[in-house]
Symmetry: none
Subunit: 218 residues, 2 copies
DNA sequence: GTTCCAATTGGAT
DNA sequence: GATCCAATTGGAA
């Protein structure tokens, strides 16, 4: 069973190799959902106090596609705050139904549906893919690995840093999957840095070309 | 004898021994065992599979000390003075006597004495060390890997690029030495880029602090 | 549409 | 003193 296998792989109990087994896309596609719209609102990075578990927001989709997708605004708002762990006082109703998968230390939870779409073709692709499963595009575009200022551009505003625990969980997950290639953490972190930079560029493109800016040759 | 051993190492008949990446060594990570680099097993395909210019037979150099290399070291005379004579004050006659060692394709010759000083502790150290054995500090400081302009600093003057053949020979040499870790060329090239940048910074420092700039507390 | 590359930088290690 | 890190960039792959 795919889910069971995915969980086993998670725990490193199934061997990986450079060319991983073809990803069970069918399972993911069965419940495929349209990517939620990314509100271009730069959210303020709220530092969690002492999070026990980092829960990645789920998409507004019914648990196993059996039920009609009951989209609640609460869920959408939650999706805006990917870095913030679920708050105790906010009971997540539909979110609780979403099957979650722990990665790394187990403190980071990834929606199973998203996890199944992660591409394991190479450590770089896997890292970038995992990032997209865990963070929203807007978060990736507005954050950096360390939150430190660019030494080459000291005047540029500093970006907030990605949640360190989640980053660490991603790194160890990729390391485990590709452990036969003895990946150093710094390699994976470099990919994360590049991914954030690329997302930042893409976001900038979209902002400067909202709609109607394109040239239309007749 | 050291020279004999060096030649053996060149042919890959002596292996990396302890020479391997001393481990990621990130922060708290720690405990990955330094796995011993495969059992000693001569597997380097130095054998003359092809008559091409690939590998210069070691024998052509071994007799040395009085015979010029069979292959004309065209590359090294290429204006960039990649290989400087050991002693500037001695005439070039001893330079012709200097035992040279071919690396990579065999088109690049390294003075044996410098080659013996190369550190093989890790692929990064080895790469930087090899660079210093092949290029002068001033060349490293004034050149870059590709010779392309920095995309982040389009106004900066473009540096000349290091000799592509020599770079390739360095890359393949390091790759061969550390092939058990399946190094990608891009990794090694990145080290070269960084080394050039570091040498450039150092040169800049020296230029701004010739002598007499230091503070002397009594 | 992404991903990758590498030049430059200052500080950290 | 040398090496490593990673933020930023534009264009190449």
């Amino acid at each position: 069973m795919y889910i069971a296998r995915a969980l086993l792989e998670l725990r490193g109990e199934i061997f990986e190799e450079e060319a991983m087994e073809p990803i069970p896309v069918e399972a993911a596609e069965a419940v495929q959902a349209i990517e939620p719209v990314e509100p271009a609102m730069p959210e303020v990075p709220i530092e969690p106090v002492e999070p026990a578990v980092h829960q990645v927001p789920i998409e507004a989709v019914a648990p196993m596609a059996h039920v009609a997708p009951l989209v609640e605004p609460v869920v959408l708002e939650a999706a805006l705050e990917p870095l913030v762990p679920i708050e105790p006082e906010v009971p997540m109703e539909p979110a609780a139904m979403e099957p979650m998968v722990p990665i790394g230390s187990g403190q980071t939870l990834v929606p199973l549906r998203k996890f199944l779409r992660v591409k394991w073709d190479s450590y770089t692709v896997a890292t970038r893919s995992l990032l997209r499963a865990v963070f929203s595009q807007s978060v990736l575009a507005t954050h950096s690995l360390t939150g430190k200022r660019s030494p080459a551009f000291l005047d540029r505003p500093v970006k907030a840093c990605l949640d360190a625990q989640i980053v660490e969980d991603i790194v160890t997950t990729v390391q485990t999957r590709f452990k036969s290639s003895k990946l150093k953490k710094s390699m994976i972190r470099k990919v994360i840095t590049t991914k954030c930079a690329d997302e930042c560029k893409m976001l900038r493109m979209k902002e400067n070309r909202p709609p109607g800016g394109g040239s239309k040759p007749p």
